[in-house]
């Protein structure tokens, strides 16, 4: 099975801000992303748990986006503009994919 090297970006960010981020991804050349709900966590701003939030505020999601390395720098720049003032982390890792048409 032939594998193609790509970059996997994982962004952990508040749900209320997620739409702004995906709007940005939609405008850039990113071909796809998937959003995963988080259940809880801890950071410098304290502990949170999904079942203990009456408002959407505070609830985090992870956005996973696999892209070609050639687009990494530009994409990270645009992501950074959104997350700069927000709570949240951005992590990049190496992956290999079996079909390359999606990225």
């Amino acid at each position: 099975m032939e594998l193609h090297p790509k970059k996997r970006i994982e962004i952990i960010i508040e749900r209320v801000v997620a739409r702004r981020l995906t709007d940005v991804l939609d405008r850039t050349g990113v071909l796809g992303y998937t959003v995963f709900p988080a259940q809880g966590g801890r950071g410098q701003d304290g502990v949170w748990d999904r079942n203990g939030l009456v408002s959407a505020a505070g609830h985090m999601v992870a956005i996973v986006c696999i892209i070609d390395a050639s687009r990494l720098d530009e994409t990270l720049g645009q992501i950074y503009e959104v997350v700069e003032r927000q709570i949240g982390i951005v992590a990049v890792s190496d992956v290999e994919v079996i079909r390359s048409e999606h990225f």
């Binding site: 209320v16 801000v17 203990g52 939030l53 009456v54 505070g58």
Partner: protein
């Protein structure tokens, strides 16, 4: 006065307040009890839908009068103005930085629909009449405070200007916030379908309403308790005190307005409750976008952990008693 104390005691022993206390106690004792988030959201939707629909059906039955317009105008004015006062008080009495003070202030200008619902039930239990259209006043008071809050933060903090470009979509998001849409939409559907519609919906939105409210308050208690436990330290005594005297100040202002407008006791009590209540759904979400530097541990805990229980247990009977005296 004795009467007030009796009513206060009766309120403290109502299932609503007791379920809230149960949740609070469970959270403080670190019980793992929790209401699954999707179900809690569904309960909240149900309450909005029911209160909106019943309000609309009530309008269909009793008709509208000019008072509503006056009340909506007063409500919007409160929502715009109260945050300015709250901000000034916070800056004077508490060590909160400006951006946190602005965010907290926005919460106290906006309203808590569950507090409003609890006040409805309280009035009903005391056989005090009020108009269904008050729910429209509640809806109108949700958003203006957010604008004042953002303006306060911007005026004092050049840094937060960077987010300005997003504001167009932010205001749209606030107005199209899910809970406002359901509240207002159900209000109009109740109005359009009237008595007949209410008859259709009653076994769903009227009969089990109080039970659902009790369950929802159990969840609110859990969340308030976890918030209080988690923010130990973050909240100083001054800010906690603010969470109790600020509603009294807002209530006094609204009471004066109610007397000036010559409202009946029930409507006056509800307007006062709205002014005294603080948001914990729409405003926190808006603040995370507009003022991300403000700390949710502060504003969410003050609104839900301090002011909400204060209003639920003591505020509502107090405001009602005051409204009965003044009107």
């Amino acid at each position: 006065m004795e009467n007030v104390i009796g009513v206060l005691a009766a309120n403290l022993l109502s299932p609503m307040v007791l379920f809230f206390v149960l949740g609070l106690a469970a959270a403080l004792a670190r019980s793992d009890l929790n209401i699954p988030e999707p179900f809690a959201k569904a309960l909240s939707l149900y309450l909005m839908l029911a209160i909106g629909f019943k309000g609309g059906a009530e309008v269909a039955r009793a008709g509208l009068d000019a008072e509503l317009l006056m009340l909506i105008a007063a409500g919007i004015a409160f929502s715009f103005a109260i945050p300015v006062l709250a901000f000034a008080l916070l800056r004077l009495t508490s060590p909160l930085p400006k951006v946190d003070a602005a965010a907290v202030a926005a919460h106290y200008g906006s309203i808590s629909i569950v507090t409003f619902i609890a006040a409805n039930e309280f009035l009903r239990s005391q056989a005090i009449l009020f108009d269904g259209y008050l729910v429209a006043v509640a809806a109108a008071m949700e958003a203006p405070a957010i604008l004042t809050g953002i303006w306060l933060a911007r005026r004092h903090d050049a840094g937060s200007d960077r987010g300005a470009r997003n504001n167009g979509s932010l205001f749209q998001e606030i107005l199209l916030n899910g809970s406002i849409v359901v509240l207002v939409g159900a209000f109009f559907i109740g109005w359009i379908t009237g008595e007949e519609g209410l008859l259709t919906m009653a076994p769903f939105i009227v009969d089990p309403f109080k039970g659902v409210l009790a369950l929802f308050l159990l969840d609110m208690g859990l969340i308030a308790g976890r918030g209080l436990r988690g923010s130990r330290g973050a909240l100083g005594l001054q800010t906690i005190l603010f969470g109790m005297y600020m509603p009294l100040i807002s209530a006094t202002i609204a009471l004066a307005a109610a007397a000036a407008m010559g409202l009946e006791a029930g409507n006056a009590a509800l307007l006062v409750t709205l002014a005294a209540s603080a948001s914990y759904i729409a405003v926190p979400a808006a603040m995370r976008i507009a003022l991300p530097e403000a700390r949710p541990a502060i504003y969410a805990t003050m609104s839900l952990g301090v002011t909400f229980p204060f209003n639920l247990a003591i505020g509502i009977p107090l405001y009602t008693a005051a409204a009965e005296m003044v009107t």
